[in-house]
Structures are given as C-alpha cells and as structure tokens.
C-alpha cells in the first residue's frame, strides 16, 4: 500500500469505527463488543502508522504530500488571493509519521486499558465511551497528517470537542460537567488566537501553508502561541487542565497527558518555519514555557491527589517543550513530546491501575502497594524515574537536549527556572512513588490487588518505550532535521545531579520505614547522607519554606488566576444582564430592528459610500 493510502487508512478507519458505533446502536449498547471493535480499529491504525514510520526509518521514502482542492477562492480583491485555492490532504514526513505512531500507540494502549478499567460501567455508557475514543483517534490523526494550518485547525477543534465529551463522561456528576465546560471554554478562548492567526496569514499571503514567508510573522506567531497556551496548558491559561482530571483516568492518560495537550506543541513544531521568522515570539515562548515549568512543578509538590500531581507535572513538562521551541530547538521540543508521551501515558495508566485497586485518588489512602501490586508498581517506578530524568531512561535524553539548547541561546533566566523545575520534578515524583508504593499501607490499601490482564498488558507495553525511547533520539531526529548526537553536556550533568538530589531529598523525607526492601537498601546511602549531621534542621526549614511557597502558588492559582478567569465570566454575565432589557422575546421587535438595519446598510451603500 502506498504511504498515502496507509495514512488515509490510519485517519479514516477510526472515523468509520465511530460512525458504525453511532449508527449501529445494538453494537454500541452491547458494551464489550463495542470496545473490542474500537480496539481492533485502533490496532490496525497503529500498524499502519508503524509501517509509515519504518518506511522513513529505512531512509528510502521521501516526504509525501497529496492534496485535493476543497474550496476554490473566488478572488477576494486582487493580488495573492486571486488564485488561492484551499486544500485538504495528507502530509507524511518524519514529524507526522513519528507523531502518528505516538498517537496510535498510546491510543491503542489506553483503549485496551479501558476495557478493564471501565468494565463496571453500564453497557450503553461503555459503548458511548469507545465511540468517543474512536472519534478522538480520527480527530487527532487528521490533525497530525494535515498539510496546512487550515486542516490542522479543523482537527484541533475536533479534539477540543472530544475532550469536552470525555471529561464530561460522568455527566451526571456536577463537578465533571463543570470541568468539561471549563476546559471547553478555556480552550475555545485560546482557539480564537488560532483562527485570527489563520486570517492574518491568509490576508497577508493568500495561503494557509506553514512554509510561506510572511511580513506579518510576529502577529501570526503570537496569535498561534496564544492558541498553544490554551491547548498545551501554559500559564495563565492552564487552569482547565487540573480540573480535566474529573474524566476517567485512561482519558487523562490519552488526552490530557500524552497526545491532545501536546497538539499545541505539535502545532509549533509544524509551523516552525513561521516561528523562525519571528524571534520575539520565540523569546516570549521561552519565558512563558520556563515559568510554566517552574510554577506547575512547585504546585505539584503539595498536591495530595495522585492525578492532580500528574496533571501539574504535565503542565510543567509542556512548559519544557514550549521553552525548547522558544529557544529555537525544534528537535528538543518534539523529542521531549515523544518521550513525555511514553512515560506520562505509562504513569497515568499505572495511576489508573492503582486507583482501580485502591478505589481512591488520595495519596494518603495508598501506601505499601509495592508488595500488593507488583507489576503496576514497577511500571509506575519506571515512569517516575523516566520523568525525573534518571540517566538512561527516556526523560533524561530529551531534558538534556532542551537544557543544552536553552543554554546555547544564553537564556539564563529560563535555564535557571528549568533546572529548578528538574529538581522539583524529581522531588515530587519521588514523594508520590515513596508514599504510594512504599509508604505505610492505609486501610484502603490493605486489600488492594492487581486488575485483569487488560489493565496490566498496556503497562508492560508502555514501560518499554518509557525506558528505552531515549536511545532512539539520534535516529528519530534524523527523520526531519539534522540528526542530533547525544552526549552528556555539563548542563545535563548539573540537571542530572539536581534530579538525583531531588530523589534523595524525597527519600530522606518520605523514605519508607517499612516495605521497600532491596530498593530501600539501594537508596539508603543517599538517605544516610541527607540524614547526617546538622543539615537536618536546615532541610526541614527548607522544606517548610518550599511547602509554604508551594501553597502560596497553589492558592494564587486557585483564587487569583482562576478568579481572574471567573471574573471575566461574571463580567460577561453582568453585561448580558444589562443588555437583556433589549430582548423582549417578541419576534416582531427583532424583525423591526433587522429591517431598520437593512435599510440603514442599503442607504449607506446607495448614498454615502460613493
């Protein structure tokens, strides 16, 4: 099969699956059958994506770009627009092939995981869930293979819609319904940036391609970045992401950790030629990204809900990616997207497995799971260490690459923020791991046990890339840019040192008095070092300060940033209340205004505009 048809299959098979599930309601209402059907199509799509990547991997294939005319543009004025044609199509190159594999792989794992995780749901709801999962895969794939910004925008809006549907899966729960609304409106607000960027770009160049040279690059890229801030949860538009954890945990893994939130980063990677034309936007991105990385990491330290920790961690890691792209490193941003998708999906699914076993999200309800849920614990540990940046695991490579680029550009403040964030990342992941897996078992955790094979198989499968994908970095980056040669740079060593220090601090503070066994013995020297001498008091003081600062940040996030956004909402409502006097509810009054306006426009056209 030619690459074009493979790509079309990857994209449209999930759509077909979703349509079948919508139209053939006996299948949808049958529950498990609907799930298996959806999983099968996702696996086929994954197979197609792997084929595409392997073709590129062997170096034989050239980029494929096939488009069809969608709308001919009938000359809006003269110049560049007169002959413009709006196209839809498929573009397969190193970037989209890699992204396709990431998306379909995580989606397939998540769907298989959901078979077990959602098993307790009523059958019709189970079918509904998988309908939307398939619809999501179609939306995301159509975004990934898009040959221009317009089609990317279509996919972008579709994933936003599916995100809303899946966050609000438990729609009868008020908090879930509210969270879904919040996510929808926050990202919609940001999407205004994308559509405005498209307009500016089209007016300026008569094209939606990202390869064009435009004189309005600054405006276009700033507007695009506004959209990215919404979708990829950058400060201050990140407030929807932690709330989005109201959705089922596999949904959080797929949409709100690995793929959909990365769409913003993917947009920048795609439109990189445009961003290269606007150095100022890059600077803004580097600062916003680095600040988000630090800010979210600080908040993650004090969260008590395991999913909230991971959610803020996602914010923080997205900040890393944005900062890398801002520093002009396409490879750094995209590679971190790839590695992050692997280990964050793994972490979320492992957290889902833990929640399934313990029946609670609260860290204090866990503990001692190492001996009760061994497979899940090992998977979680691998993910946590990869995220923390332990040498050899995935996160280490991409983080090192990003820091090196930021240093090269001489962006000192972002570099500092990112380094501190690396320390905090290791610390909060160490905390979660030690408390949940090795801590004193709570009453809830006493009877925790592993779920079925559909819960465990995805963990095992995802643990492999989470541990090893870093080693493929040079080859993967070579698919779309000059291959990067990984080497341990000084700044990388500093970051690794900070990460190990973070883990050590976490061990010193939360190190388990029971459970752990061999692992605890391995970490013991670090713990002894931390415990020794007079540093104790200072550490305790330091943690007090850290906790205080963290709480202040969390408070700031909850009341000031959220409040600002809510205030915007209330202001709109108040304005509406004032204006509703104009609304009489009588159709005739509206027609009256309509006619008057029409006459006004007609008169203007007839008399004054000449």
């Amino acid at each position: 099969m030619s690459p074009l048809y493979t790509a079309l299959l990857c994209t449209f098979l999930p759509l077909a699956a979703a349509l079948v599930l919508v139209l053939v309601s006996p299948l949808r209402r049958a529950g498990l059958a609907a799930g298996l059907f959806s999983v099968a199509t996702a696996l086929i799509a994954f197979g197609g994506a792997v084929t595409l990547l392997l073709e590129r991997w062997s170096g034989a294939a050239t980029p494929v770009r096939e488009t069809v005319r969608w709308l001919p543009h009938a000359g809006l004025g003269g110049g560049a627009h007169a002959r413009a044609v709006i196209e839809l199509g498929v573009q397969i190159d190193g970037i989209s092939a890699t992204m396709l594999v990431v998306v379909t792989a995580v989606a397939a794992c998540v769907q298989i995981f959901s078979l077990g995780y959602m098993a307790g749901e009523p059958k019709p709801d189970f079918g509904r869930y998988f309908t939307w999962q398939s619809l999501f895969l179609f939306s995301m794939n159509s975004l990934v293979v898009a040959p221009n910004l317009l089609q990317l925008f279509l996919g972008w809006e579709l994933v936003g819609l599916v995100s809303y549907l899946l966050i609000g899966y438990w729609w009868s729960k008020p908090s879930a319904a509210r969270a879904a609304m919040k996510a929808f409106w926050m990202t919609k607000l940001a999407d205004m940036g994308l559509i405005l960027a498209l307009l500016v770009l089209f007016v300026d160049t008569g094209s939606f391609d990202w390869t064009v040279t435009t004189s309005a690059a600054g405006a276009v890229t700033l507007l695009l970045f506004f959209a990215v801030m919404g979708k990829s949860a950058q400060f201050p538009l990140h407030v929807w992401l932690p709330d989005a954890m109201e959705g089922p945990t596999p949904v959080s893994a797929l949409l709100h950790a690995a793929t959909m939130v990365a769409a913003g980063v993917f947009l920048v990677v795609r439109a990189f030629p445009l961003f290269e034309q606007a150095p100022t936007t890059g600077l803004v991105m580097a600062y916003v990204g680095a600040f988000t990385a630090l800010f979210a990491a600080v908040i993650a330290v004090v969260q008590t809900d395991i999913k909230k920790v991971l959610a803020y961690s996602t914010c923080s890691q997205l900040g890393y990616m944005v900062a890398a792209l801002g520093a002009g490193s396409q490879v750094g941003g995209f590679f971190h997207l790839t590695t992050h998708a692997c280990f964050k999906a793994l972490l979320f699914l492992a957290a889902g497995s833990i929640i399934h076993g313990v029946h609670s999200n609260e860290l204090s309800h866990m503990g001692g799971l190492w001996s009760r849920m061994r497979v899940t614990s090992v998977a979680f540990l691998v993910g946590a260490l990869a995220l923390a940046g332990v040498p050899g695991l995935a996160g280490f490579f991409s983080k090192d690459l990003i820091l090196e680029h930021v240093l090269e550009r001489g962006l000192w403040a972002p570099l500092g923020a990112l380094l501190v964030a690396a320390f905090l990342t290791a610390f909060y992941m160490g905390r979660v791991t030690l408390v949940a897996l090795f801590g004193r078992p709570s009453a809830h955790a006493e009877h925790a046990h592993e779920g079925g094979v559909s819960l465990l198989a995805p963990l095992v499968v995802l643990a492999v890339p989470a541990a090893g994908v870093g080693w493929l970095g040079a080859k993967l980056s070579g698919l779309y840019a000059a291959p990067v040669h990984f080497h341990l740079s000084p700044v990388g060593m500093v970051a690794t040192g900070l990460a190990l220090a973070g883990l050590g601090l976490a061990y010193w503070m939360f190190g388990a008095p029971q459970g752990g066994g061999r692992l605890r013995a391995a970490f013991a020297p670090i713990g002894r070092l931390a415990r020794s001498g007079a540093v104790n008091a200072r550490f305790a003081w330091g943690y007090g300060v850290l906790g205080g600062v963290s709480s202040i940040f969390a408070w700031f996030d909850r009341y000031v940033i959220d409040g600002l956004m809510n205030g915007l909402g209330y202001a709109t409502l108040a304005l509406g209340a004032r204006l509703r006097g104009l609304q009489t509810g009588r159709a005739q009054d509206y027609v009256y205004v309509l006619v008057a306006a029409m006459l006004g426009v007609g008169a203007y056209g007839a008399f004054w505009s000449r």
Binding site: Q583, A587, Q588, V591
Partner: protein, 99 residues
Amino acid sequence: MGLTGYLLLAAALFSLGVFGVVTRRNAIGVLASVELMANAVNLNLVAFSRHHAGPTGQVFALFSIALTVAEVVVGLALVLLLFRAKGDVRIELASELKD
C-alpha cells in the same frame, strides 16, 4: 415592460410583506406576510432569469418555492401548537424564550 417594472413590483410586494410581518398580531397573518416576501424574491429571480436569458434564476425560484412550502408547513404546525398551548394565536403570546 422592462426589468424595472418587475423590480418595482417585487420591491412593493416585499415592503408590504415586511410591513405585515412587523405589524400583524395574528400568527397566521405573519406567516402570510412572510410568504409575500418570499414571493417577491421569487419574482426577482424569474425577472432576472428572463433578463439574462438563462435558466439559473428559474431553477432557483423553483427551489425557493419548494423550500417555502416546507417552511410554511413548519410554521403552521407551530401556530397549531401555539393554539393548543394558549388557546389563541396572537404572536406576542409566544415570548417565553425571553426568560
């Protein structure tokens, strides 16, 4: 008679329709006035079709007539429901969407 005559007639019909839509209190009267507006437009379409000596306008007019019929069906159904709910067909009774 040239194009102008038809256009003037259509404009007059349209204005009468608008006047009716805005002032009639009876819902059926409003519907009838909407019909008048639609037919003024159809007249324009046919007149231009004749003027340009092409079939496009007539085809459009046929489409438009078919659509208008469908619209009237919906409209009359609404009036019927309004009558059932309120026992009257005065249009200002249908203003609950305000709240």
